[in-house]
């Protein structure tokens, strides 16, 4: 077979047209040889060609408008205020528009050659005929109110179905076409299964439906599927494309963010048939609702699903501008189906949206708390406001633990006479400290050191790289056994100190005590041991002490002068170091004690910010572990009767934290608190929207975020869609949501109904799902589209009702088979003389194979999962570097929509079948047909394992080879196998059975693919040969096609 190239789609024959139209591709198609209609309709026939050929220079964008000529308004076309028009109604030959288009003079010809545009002969005929018929102008259809014939009161279900069929039939009759007969029951059942729940029917479902001859049999099935928990999953797949749900942030390092509860919210909302207006408002503004429920807060995560960056060097403002502009594109794309996003840098070329409209739309989102650069998020995963979303079971567990904690705390906080007695005993054992008030304090580098009444000394002013503080003390209690250095937090210090480095840390390199007698040489005071309340362990790679040890501060710089004591992990808290003297120290008359605190780290500014020095004469050993914290020992120095009430309480409270009699309760509390913490860590979080004071939004000229000269704007709806005067108070996201789902918003209902139609027919009634603006597609059935939109809104935005209305129609139930005659007259099946045939969406290709093979785990919702992915696929991700870890157990067999959605490297099996990366709003997935898809189905371990599991099922089915094959077909395609098919597969089976019997090692290798254990009850060669058969079946076009 040599008839194709790479990724080549080959068509050499004009008759090979199908309804399997990749929507996106189809959008490009215009049949050039269609007949000219009897009556020209401006919106159907003329506006698209003017928009395509003329609006770029003669359209809504005032800045790019040439010759002051506008062809998108009636005034522009027909003249106004004495200005002549470009058409003369009834007289094509006198109309300048037509003269210019047919002109052969290059100076006059429109559109000019440089534009690259040419108006086809058919289009010229259309224009002439339109002018000849009077040149009737209409506003753009999608911005006009719903058609009057459509905007009727809500009909009962049956009447609505009939009305839809009547409108489709009207179209067919006008084209002299006939509807196809109803599809056979098996096809119908498979169709509604794939369309409504995205899973194939089981053999039992098929058998039951075939047996049910009652008139309501089909409707019964529809109702069953609408109630299925998988209904929400199917619609969620579609909705998540629109709202760009993904599990990673997309920019640069593409790190993970936690938003799985949002996906669950979408699934549950569709399952519960939540009103679409409510669903809309919760996502755009759930956080602004009065006392928002947890569900509403999860929904508000919609605003946080856009891409984010933790790339060093990102300029905050630039990315804030990117994020907020994306929200305009997303909200307008998701709900309104228009491309307001195009007006970021210039007025829209085709639709009446101005740059001001764009930025006023942006301003609705200006209250969302966020950062441009999520600095550090690549390491700590903190991507802004989020909430915990425990399961019901987790909530119960939490409540139980909280109750335990409360009761233990209660016990630990209750004073008793026994405790008071024990405390009195304990106090006798405590070391008394005397705060030393230095006679002078000096800094080598000229730092301002201020002694405060409580004996603390604060450093301020100059902040040198290194320094030595020297304290001179003349009064000392006789017989000092130890000094205590407290380093303390203070609001004036970075990170509250106690150090002056930017991170609040310090390094005490050396603690040197010296006696300076009035005459004679200085005598060093030997320090025998030193202990500290905490020693830093971080950044200690090349530290000879393996940590920032207090021992380094009394080592005489033996291992280098920069090493010393530091506390990086616990900055912002008080710390203590105690230095034991080698022998009792008493100052003789005239002696001065100097204490030098050397701070020599080469990483600058690691000096102490606030400290206090004390001394004790208590017998050795004097160590930090024996000492009460500084605040307590300060109180202990006061005799109990003199202590204030708060001081008494403080000491008693402290004592209870160390009282031996409470040890068991403390242990219990620690254990319960740990359990709570562990449980808490397993509770998923989800990003939510938190509103803050709105930041200023300016019109950015040419979209340039550095340009601050533009006008500041406040939230407002696009002028063309809203006549309301600007309100007094600032509009909010909630107002935006209300306006989007207002009964008179012409877009939302139409957009939704059109997209639903695509889900159930393969293309929309207007084929451009992402643009209902001037460059969009005139709907094949405008009244039908409006009718569906009106019914949808009138029914209370009832999604299930709309779905049911569509799938109950005769149009939906038609056969999808095509015939040559139909191909010629309606190549794109616009008139719906048959149903569509199309490949399953990416996730469903997987779900289908999992379901057929019996591997599918049908759990609904939960965190994202990781089916097999080729190793090394993430090699070019970084910050951090990552390797995909395959899931375990059930996680390997979940539905495709739960697959971890990595924006930069989406799972290759999903990507091959056109799943979008979800970096932006995706309204219309293309459907390609590529060799990579074949490679996935042939070789991806998920599909090989599924084939083996399917083979096991087949082998466990009692019967002959033919009966087994028939069972396989019933399972895979819901129909009996044909004799020719059976023969082919029998032959394959026979060949491979021999083959694998001769090569048992190969059989075993094949069967070992996947985590599922190899069965012991089936001969390996037999199972391997049947696996070949199962692989063949799972690869069939029929298996992955909905028809």
């Amino acid at each position: 077979m040599r008839c194709s190239g790479w990724f080549t789609v080959v068509c050499l024959n004009a008759v090979c047209l199908t309804s399997m139209i990749p929507g996106m591709v189809l959008g490009q198609g215009t049949a050039k040889n269609l007949p000219i209609p009897e009556t020209i309709e401006f919106n159907r026939d003329i506006r698209p060609l003017l928009s395509d050929n003329c609006f770029q220079c003669h359209g809504p964008d005032k800045n790019k408008r040439e010759a002051e000529l506008r062809l998108d308004t009636e005034a522009g076309l027909k003249g106004h205020d004495g200005k002549p028009g470009t058409i003369v109604p009834g007289k094509p030959e006198e109309s300048e528009l037509i003269r210019r288009i047919i002109s052969t003079d290059p100076d006059k010809k429109m559109p000019p050659a440089a534009s690259g545009k040419t108006v086809s002969p058919r289009d010229i005929e259309l224009l002439k005929k339109w002018v000849a018929q009077g040149g009737r102008f209409e506003g753009h259809w999608a911005f006009l109110p719903l058609h009057k014939d459509a905007a009727v009161a809500v009909a009962n279900e049956q009447a609505a179905v009939s009305k839809v069929d009547e409108l489709v039939a009207r179209g067919l009759a006008e084209q002299n076409l006939k509807a196809a007969p109803e599809a056979d029951k098996v096809t119908l059942l498979r169709r509604i299964h794939f369309d409504l729940i995205g899973l194939p029917p089981s053999e039992k479902d098929v058998a039951a439906f075939l047996q049910d001859q009652s008139p309501g049999a089909y409707e019964k099935q529809v109702d069953r599927l609408l109630q299925s928990p998988h209904f929400g999953e199917r619609l969620a797949m579609w909705w998540l494309d629109l709202v760009r749900y993904a599990d990673t942030v997309g920019y640069h390092g593409d790190q993970e963010m936690s938003v799985a509860p949002f996906r669950q919210y979408v699934i549950e909302s569709f399952n519960a048939n939540k009103r679409f207006d409510q669903f809309t408002a919760e996502q755009l503004a759930g956080d602004l609702m009065p006392n928002p429920t947890r569900e509403q807060r999860i929904a508000s995560g919609y605003n946080r699903l856009g891409m984010m960056s933790a790339e060093g060097g990102v300029q905050d403002k630039e990315y804030l501008a990117k994020y907020i502009a994306e929200r305009v594109r997303n909200a307008s794309g998701t709900w309104l189906g228009v491309t307001i996003g195009c007006a970021e840098c210039h007025d829209h070329k085709f639709d009446p949206f101005t740059t001001k409209d764009f930025y006023r739309f942006e301003a609705f989102f200006a209250d969302i708390q966020e950062r441009g650069l999520y600095s550090g998020a690549h390491a700590d995963g903190s991507w802004g406001p989020n909430i915990k979303v425990p399961t019901q079971q987790q909530e119960t567990q939490l409540a139980a633990l909280d109750a335990q904690i409360a009761s233990l705390k209660q016990k630990l906080e209750t004073a008793t006479p026994e405790l008071a007695a024990a405390q009195a005993e304990w106090e006798k054992t405590q070391i008394p400290w005397t705060v030393l008030k230095p006679d002078s304090i000096a800094s080598v580098e000229g730092v301002t050191l201020t002694a405060r009444p409580d004996g603390t000394i604060l450093a301020s002013g100059k902040n040198p790289a290194t320094d030595t503080y020297t304290l001179a003390i003349k009064q000392l209690p006789p017989g000092v056994t130890a000094f205590r250095l407290e380093v303390l937090p203070d609001p004036s210090l970075p990170q509250k100190g106690p150090g002056r480095a930017g991170n609040g840390n310090f390094v005490l390199s050396e603690f040197i005590a010296t006696i300076k007698p009035s005459v004679g040489d200085d005598r060093p005071v030997a320090i025998s041991t030193a202990t500290a309340s905490y020693e830093q362990t971080g950044a200690a790679g090349d530290n000879p002490y393996k940590k920032w040890a207090i021992a380094a501060a009394i080592d005489g710089d033996a291992k280098g002068k920069k090493w010393g004591w530091a506390v990086m992990e616990k900055v912002g808290q008080p710390h203590v170091a105690i230095f034991e003297t080698a022998s009792d120290l008493t100052l003789e008359n005239g002696d001065t004690l100097t204490i030098a605190l050397q701070q020599n780290l080469d990483n600058p500014q690691h000096t102490i910010g606030l400290f206090r020095l004390s001394a004790t004469t208590a017998p050795r050993p004097v160590k930090v572990t024996d000492a009460a914290p500084p605040n307590i020992s300060a109180i202990l120095a006061i005799a109990p009767p003199q202590r204030s009430e708060p001081q008494l309480k403080e000491v008693a409270a402290y004592f209870r934290t160390i009282a031996p009699s409470l040890q068991q309760s403390r242990n219990e509390l620690a254990a319960v608190e740990k359990s709570r913490k562990d449980l808490d860590a397993t509770i998923p979080t989800t990003l939510v929207t938190a509103a803050v004071a709105p930041r200023m939004v300016r019109i950015l000229r040419r979209g340039n975020w550095m340009d601050e000269s533009g006008e500041a704007v406040t939230p407002a709806f696009p002028a063309v869609l809203s006549a309301a005067a600007a309100p007094e108070t600032r509009l909010t996201r909630l107002d935006l949501a209300k306006w989007i789902v207002a009964r008179d918003n012409p877009l939302t209902g139409r957009v939704f109904a059109n997209r639903m139609w695509k889900l159930y027919f393969g293309t929309g009634l207007s084929r451009k799902l992402d643009d209902l603006g001037a460059q969009g597609d005139w709907p094949s059935h405008p009244v039908l589209l409006d009718y569906l939109a009106a019914q949808f809104m009138e029914s209370g935005w009832d999604v299930k009702r709309l779905v049911k209305t569509i799938v109950m129609t005769k149009a939906y139930r038609q056969s999808s088979l095509m015939n040559p005659a139909l191909r010629d007259v309606d190549p794109y099946n616009r008139w719906l003389a048959r149903q569509g045939r199309f490949r399953l969406d990416a996730e469903l290709v997987r779900d289908n194979a999992m379901s057929i093979s019996g591997l599918l785990v049908t759990q609904v919702g939960g965190k994202s999962v990781r089916p097999y992915q080729p190793p090394g696929y993430w090699a070019y991700l970084n910050f951090p570097q990552r390797e995909w870890q395959n899931g375990v157990g059930d996680e390997l067999y979940r539905r495709g929509l739960y697959t971890h959605w990595q924006r930069q490297y989406l799972h290759p099996s999903l990507l091959a079948f056109d799943a979008p990366c979800r970096e932006e709003c995706t309204a219309d997935r293309p459907r390609s047909n590529t060799p990579l898809q074949s490679l996935v189905l042939l070789n991806d371990p998920s599909y090989v394992e599924a084939a083996r599991a399917f083979a096991e099922l087949i082998l466990h089915h009692e019967g002959s080879t033919q009966q087994k094959l028939n069972f396989a077909y019933l399972r895979a395609v819901s129909r009996p196998i044909e004799p020719a098919e059976s023969q082919l597969l029998e032959k394959l089976l026979e060949t491979h059975l021999k083959d694998y019997q001769a090569d048992p090692a190969a059989a075993n290798e094949l069967l070992k693919i996947g985590a599922r254990p190899t069965p012991t009850d089936l001969p390996a060669a037999t199972l391997a040969a049947w696996t070949s058969v199962a692989r063949t079946i799972l690869n069939l076009h029929e298996v992955i096609t909905r028809n």
Partner: protein
């Protein structure tokens, strides 16, 4: 395997012959106002929507050597003696005022002199740094160096996206995809758009997103395919364990025959396309390993590239690029992600250049000796340049001026074009935008960028964006 599978398959192929169909092609052609019959029955490959091309092309294919991370122009191709004189002095505020700055935001901006000497190479006397001894000595007279590039993005991710797709907003097709769409493929067993990535030892290993070779809003058929150095060279191209090529063939034959029976029953052209794609998939299962196996290359080729292949190095990828070019692959992109030199730019630029020098010189030499350089465009460059200001002993990201160079495929050889100011900061003379590069490349491939568009969200979207882009005529031979 004998009857009946073969019979069914053959009879299917005979009956359907080459009149297979697919809606995708149909509508693409329809969009261009051409009937499907316009495709010659003897040339059934996808040959692109541009038939005929807008003008006679000079080049048939592109090999884009993408120096990812932001190659310093000041140590490589843009000599700034004045900057050396100013080393350590403050950069004048008039130069930096109102400019975008990345990691140096809020820091003191001091000049940082070039860290490597430059010399004149070849008959053309091109000024190139000494860290490119092989490129300079062997290829200077083939190179067309443009020193006046500027771009819109200062961070890696959006700057890559802009360089590849002409837009910072994700979702636009990469240039390779545009070419598949417009020109089609010359290979019938390999993808038309192939990407390979090598990783060096010096710079930060900045991520590269698969978005850089995504087909965006164009059909998925036009997506770039990554060829990998380890594991399956193309994802899923290897048979499952225990499945020999013959067994795989049996399975594919059975699939084809069963799909053929369905096609006879239903006359659904999409089935026919599916059949052809399975054939292609199966062919790829041998053509890709054949391509990747360089063991039969002669010794002097190994010497030339300095590799025996199979090591995932840049040079090894260069050798594969030549083999891909020979087999008709349209757009080959080699990323070497090692150029993000925030620190130690002297040592790191020398190190990374060494990783690249021999491969690129070999590739140009090799193409030339096979007479393929004339219709193969070599593109060499980064997503942006680096600051003339110091970041410690390195340089920060820089968008206002940087260098790219081209060779072959209709570019003027041995020439220099454009210039930055004396600091190497702003492109000041003959400024060239990223869109201009795209326009020029398309021009050489026979495409008028203004007339090459695809409707997306209502707009005639172009690779070269909505603002004016120009073919840089001075660069054309």
């Amino acid at each position: 395997m004998t009857l009946p599978i073969d019979v069914a398959r053959r009879s299917f192929l005979q009956t359907t012959g080459i009149s297979l169909g697919s809606m995708a092609l149909q509508s693409l052609l329809a969009r261009e106002g051409r009937a499907a019959e316009a495709v010659s029955p003897t040339g059934p490959k996808w040959q692109g929507v541009l038939q005929p091309m807008h003008h006679t092309p000079k080049a048939k294919r592109v090999i884009w050597l993408y120096m990812a991370g932001g190659m310093t122009h000041l140590e490589t191709f843009d000599h700034k003696p004045k900057l050396a004189e100013l080393h350590g002095q403050a950069m004048p505020e008039s130069i930096t005022k109102g400019q975008q700055i990345a990691q140096l935001q809020g820091q003191k901006l001091n000049c940082f002199g070039p860290q490597h000497a430059f010399k004149q190479w070849g008959q053309s006397g091109q000024s190139i740094s000494e860290i490119w001894p092989l490129l300079g000595s062997k290829c200077a007279d083939e190179m067309c160096i443009v020193r006046s590039l500027h771009t819109d993005a200062i961070n890696h991710d959006p700057a890559h996206t802009f360089m590849n797709t002409g837009s910072m907003i994700a979702g636009r097709p990469a240039m390779g995809s545009w070419l598949q769409y417009g020109l089609g493929s010359e290979s019938d067993s390999l993808p038309g758009f192939v990407v390979m990535v090598s990783t060096g030892k010096f710079g930060q290993k900045q991520p590269i997103a698969a978005r850089q070779w995504h087909s965006g809003f164009l059909p998925g058929e036009f997506q770039g395919v990554e060829f990998r150095g380890t594991g399956d060279p193309v994802l899923y191209v290897g048979n499952p364990k225990g499945v020999t090529s013959k067994r795989q063939r049996d399975v594919v034959d059975a699939i084809q025959s069963l799909n053929g029976l369905a096609q006879q029953r239903l006359e659904d052209p999409e089935i026919a396309t599916r059949v052809s794609q399975y054939e292609l998939a199966f062919r790829m299962q041998s053509s890709v390993p054949e391509l990747m196996d360089v063991s039969k290359e002669p010794e002097h080729i190994f010497d030339l590239y300095g590799t025996k292949g199979g090591d995932g190095s840049f040079a090894s990828n260069c050798l594969l690029a030549r083999r891909l070019a020979e087999r008709g692959v349209r757009f080959i992109q080699l990323y070497h992600r090692d150029w993000d030199h925030h620190g130690a730019v002297k040592e790191h630029s020398a190190g990374t250049a060494k990783e690249v020098d021999q491969g690129v010189a070999a590739l140009i030499t090799d193409l030339k000796q096979r007479d393929m350089l004339k219709d193969t465009i070599i593109v060499f460059g980064s997503e942006f340049g680096r600051t003339p200001m110091a970041q410690g002993n390195g340089r920060d990201h820089h968008l206002a001026g940087f260098t790219m160079w081209f060779a072959g495929g209709g570019f003027k050889p041995g020439m220099s074009y454009g210039a930055t100011d004396e600091f190497g900061y702003h492109a000041v003379e003959n400024r060239v935008s990223v869109h201009d590069v795209h326009a020029t490349l398309l021009h050489l491939l026979g495409i008028d960028h203004n007339r090459f568009s695809y409707k997306f969200q209502g707009l005639d979207s172009r690779l070269t964006g909505v603002e004016t882009a120009n073919v840089v005529k001075e660069l054309l031979a």
